[in-house]
Subunit: 260 residues, 4 copies
């Protein structure tokens, strides 16, 4: 048995301090945050531990808005809709969709952020080598570039980059990561002889990097953003009704192949 101090210290946090009738979040009384702080600003404060304002807050908000949904073809959205027909609560349906996100679905933002960081450290003259090394370690697709569906271009990316440019011109962010990302985009176009444009993950990774987020948080923020779509679709499906809704109409079933 350990002593009481061990218990008292088992959970330790800088996020929240609480007594009966008193809740402080990141050092601020909750009642002072309510009504004065936007939801996106609150997210930043809670996760990063500091306030965000003005053009930097706007940039963060843009990244959150951009990734909310990609339709019922996305595994996350489909799962939330299915769950809504299985007799679980709305929050469980959301959790089911959120739990779909991993290294492949919703993980590219973190990887793109890490790639940018690596490219920045190595310097512009060695970009080709940096990309080659990345591919030798992680496979042939560069995270954040190209899209299997949105040809020629993912409409979210140029809009996000334009906002980064504005913020860089006003001095709100440095703009180095936008430059790095565009250099990669240009390099890829030359290499392949056709454009492989930045996608939503590449663009939001620029924003998160410009704002000083560690790359893994790109994944967490994507999760918050996509949760909006999860709720919207789970609720719409709830209203539509349906019971035990599978991926395809009952008539279709699947292919049985004993040799797989």
């Amino acid at each position: 048995m350990t002593d009481r101090n061990d218990v008292a210290d088992w959970w330790r946090t800088a996020i929240i301090d609480m007594e009966p009738g008193r809740i402080h979040l990141r050092g601020h009384p909750v009642q002072e945050l309510i009504g004065t702080t936007g939801f996106a600003q609150m997210i930043w404060l809670m996760v990063m531990g500091e306030r965000i304002d003005g053009p930097r807050a706007a940039l963060f908000e843009a990244a959150l808005v951009a990734a909310v949904d990609h339709g019922p073809q996305a595994p996350s959205i489909a799962a939330a809709r299915m769950a809504a027909t299985c007799g679980v609560g709305l929050q469980s349906a959301m959790a089911t969709g959120l739990n779909m996100l991993g290294n492949v679905h919703g993980g590219a933002g973190e990887q793109a952020g890490a790639l940018y960081q690596q490219a920045l450290t190595a310097g512009p003259d060695t970009l080709g080598q940096t990309l080659d090394q990345w591919r030798s370690e992680h496979g042939r697709f560069l995270p954040g570039f190209g899209h299997r569906f949105h040809k020629p271009v993912d409409p979210r990316a140029p809009r996000l980059l334009a906002l980064v440019d504005e913020a860089a011109q006003s001095g709100a962010v440095g703009g180095r990561f936008a430059m790095i990302a565009r250099a990669i985009e240009a390099h890829l176009a030359l290499e392949r002889g056709k454009p492989v444009p930045m996608n939503i993950d590449g663009a939001t990774a620029v924003i998160y990097a410009e704002l000083g987020c560690p790359p893994p948080l790109a994944r967490g923020f994507f999760g918050l953003s996509r949760s909006v779509g999860l709720l919207a679709h789970a609720w719409e499906q709830t209203e539509q009704g349906g019971r035990n809704k599978g991926p395809t109409p009952p008539g279709y079933r699947w292919t049985y192949d004993a040799d797989k």
Copy 2:
């Protein structure tokens, strides 16, 4: 086998329309929403299908900000922190915490909304009977009132109610649900001979009802709000490290009792 139209119609949504290079959310090109729409406004648009602005948007934002966290004692937050030490991704840790939310944890907002609606329909003269009937059907605690920890008062509730009052004075919302909720609060105080003040769930339910949300969405919006705390805590725990972190220090274990 059914025909192709069945497949095409299996998933049907009014939320998102998409072609290669084109994403429309609730009828708006995504690139027009990015940079012009706040994250809270985007949540409303996606879930409710219409824009929210001005004082109504501010009220919605306040409700989202208020419920982000209740510390590592809350099962949701504790679960996300534990998960962060078990070798799963950040999004899975968030999903684990979100999945803790159900009828009991994070469900009171929906119930309070339904109670207000019932009280409104029955009218003020029969409030006592409405409450008695509720209790006979659902148990002795009225959802949205009283708090086992925050004595005498949950600091979030009065602040939220004050914002509703402001919005009602400006005509942005009707204010009927604030009145109903306060009438219930007053009734309870008389009945018990001591205050049983409105809590966070009771207060956010007032906001959601004033804004015209169906009660079940109180649960969904709570999930979005609490996900912020889930991410903040999962990330902090990731940074703190730890492996297989259980609820209490290893020395404590548990009580074995063969008769339970």
Copy 3:
């Protein structure tokens, strides 16, 4: 602050007792259970707190075997397969599928068990009234009877019932619930003028009731059983590969309908 005893007693269980180098499960040293106890028997011991053997164990095992899979059309199985392509671990993919199970998908066993109990208590002479009352409270479908896909009959149900009959003839179980379930089946056939045969949920509910399980455990045992299919499918999908696999082929997408 509470005192140490409160902590020591916060978690209390009759299931497991542990010291360094010593693990007792339901009072048995784990090393004595390993190699002497079948997995199904172990499940029963852990959950019900007592040993199960002989024909009763065989019956329980049959129920567990029967419900392992219903193919990639089932939301649970589809979700596990999708998750396996999203870059999460095998266990998370299983959890995603398990989390699909709720009141509608995987909940009928519990409901059927409760219905049998109610019919038994009311007695055979009032079966029609019992069923009518159930329907007035829970809707027009009786849990455990009929199947939207398996016409004319779910092949698992008659086999399970035959095993119950054998066990009843040997005196291993009483057989009352098999009788009740068949009486309901006969009543339904008369009522509708065509057979509405017992399905897997109705048949496993008979077994669980015969063995003395509280109805909610039908749901838990179904979860254990279906987890086998979840693992098999998640693993097969992992081996097949695929990235971000949605419910339908990428070319199909969905129907956009602004009015839903």
Copy 4:
């Protein structure tokens, strides 16, 4: 739009074949499996695609029995108990616990299996180098050896190894992986000057390797095994009652430390 064949082939499996009134699992009519196949045997058939019998089946069953529970201190078990007090279904509570399992919690079996395979390929003469290389790539702890709680020895491991020895003597399995694992154990004891005995993950990894499972399945089988404990504890907690049960008693809370 793609054509119908694409849809028909989108989901493809060797596990289950189904028509109305007919379910074949791995080529066997389900009604022939029910009542003739043990639950552990069914797990093997479904996941591995072939039958397992006799001493090999007994070995598999022993591995499944051994890992069912490690008490409310384990994050998985604690999460399931907490969830049971939050107003979600029994299956969601199980899913929440299962979702705790990842690389760290429940992942060592897969890693140990991979290590054994590597040591076998390299040969016994170079065991020291193999272990050094493993540690240079994965960190100083060897998966499957040592236990932070069970000193001097995890009671499950020697029992499982004894069963492997028996099976090897009868020729049911080869015994090479038991030898490898013991060689690692001996090597570690010499290196550290004190025993670092094999633990449950090391021992079950021996069994899975002897039976010819790919290492990742150690993780899946662990998930099935632990799900038994998850159900037992979620159900016991449901019976005990409680609402919103956090990790420690309400009086304890946590340490607030602004510098973390």
